[in-house]
């Protein structure tokens, strides 16, 4: 690992030592964050996977029914019957903080317009039973679909964050910390070497001076 390009001075050594301890602390914190994120992520992604499979299955069934309905009924009638839905769905989004990742928490508001009667926005005279079935299924799958939206988005955001954290941890672990260690070692060696050089020089001068005195 290459050492940093610095002057081997005492001042530099102090700065580097400070940086080294900061880097080590940062690395530990990030590593902890990564572990906890991963734990949460795995729980969530499992839920996501199951939810998606269930939703796709149910949605597929509902589409099949709807396809049957549109085959039995004429297109005009079909469109006419569902053009004015009884219900309106809106949602409220708050954010939740999971290990510094902001994930959305969605709250859905289904406001039934009018009575609490049937969910169907049409009379039964001109519509087929398949349409009723399709809409009922779709209506039942909707809460799951909305939950899927929330979970899947959270998973996406967390996956991104985990990737980012992992890069940082790796950069610290395999680049910054070894570099700092190497450089600190290098400066220490250099300073020690200077010290030894100095002592030898002094000893040499002393012996030279003694020799001169004896000769006089």
């Amino acid at each position: 690992m290459a050492k940093l390009n610095v002057n081997p001075t005492r001042m530099e050594l102090t700065t580097l030592k400070k940086r080294f301890s900061t880097a080590k602390r940062g690395h530990k914190l990030l590593k902890d964050k990564q572990d906890e994120l991963m734990r949460r992520f795995i729980d969530m992604i499992k839920e996501n996977n199951e939810l998606r499979k269930a939703v796709e299955e149910e949605l597929g069934a509902s589409f099949k029914d709807f396809l049957m309905a549109s085959a039995v009924m004429s297109t005009e009638y079909l469109e006419e019957s569902i053009i004015f839905p009884k219900e309106r769905i809106s949602l409220d989004v708050k954010t939740k903080n999971i290990m510094s990742v902001n994930v959305p928490v969605m709250e859905f508001k289904r406001e039934m317009e009018g009575d609490e009667g049937s969910i169907y926005p049409y009379g039964f005279a001109n519509t087929s039973a398949e349409l009723d079935g399709a809409l009922e299924r779709l209506y039942n799958v909707l809460p799951k679909l909305l939950m899927l939206a929330e979970v899947e988005k959270s998973c996406q955001l967390m996956a991104d964050e985990i990737e980012k954290t992992r890069r940082r941890v790796n950069a610290l672990e395999y680049m910054t910390i070894p570099q700092l260690q190497e450089t600190i070692k290098y400066i220490k060696m250099k300073l020690d070497e200077n010290e030894r050089g100095n002592i030898t020089r002094l000893m040499k001068i002393k012996s030279m001076m003694q020799e001169q005195e004896q000769n006089q």
Binding site: M38, G60, L67, L91, V93, I119, L135, K153, A159
Partner: protein
Amino acid sequence: MYKIAVVGDKDSVLAFKAIGVEVFPVIETEEARKTIDRLASNNYAVIFVTEQVAKDLDETIERYNRALLPAIILIPSNQGSLNIGLQRIKDNVEKAVGVNIL
């Protein structure tokens, strides 16, 4: 207050209309892209897109993946699932964990 939208081919999304979700039928890729961009900037928090439409819109969807809102969620169309949604879950796992553990 945020809204929900469904984008996809007409036959698939029509059913959603009946249960009170706003639907935006699209046919061409370009049209779909513009619709999604418009919805995203118009206070829609959840946009359901059929896989049939989404398969050509990787870039656009990827762009919104990083943002908190909107959540673009793929749903199967009436021609069945293309498994893009499940594939995306797998991709997420691989991105985060490194290997597919599911």
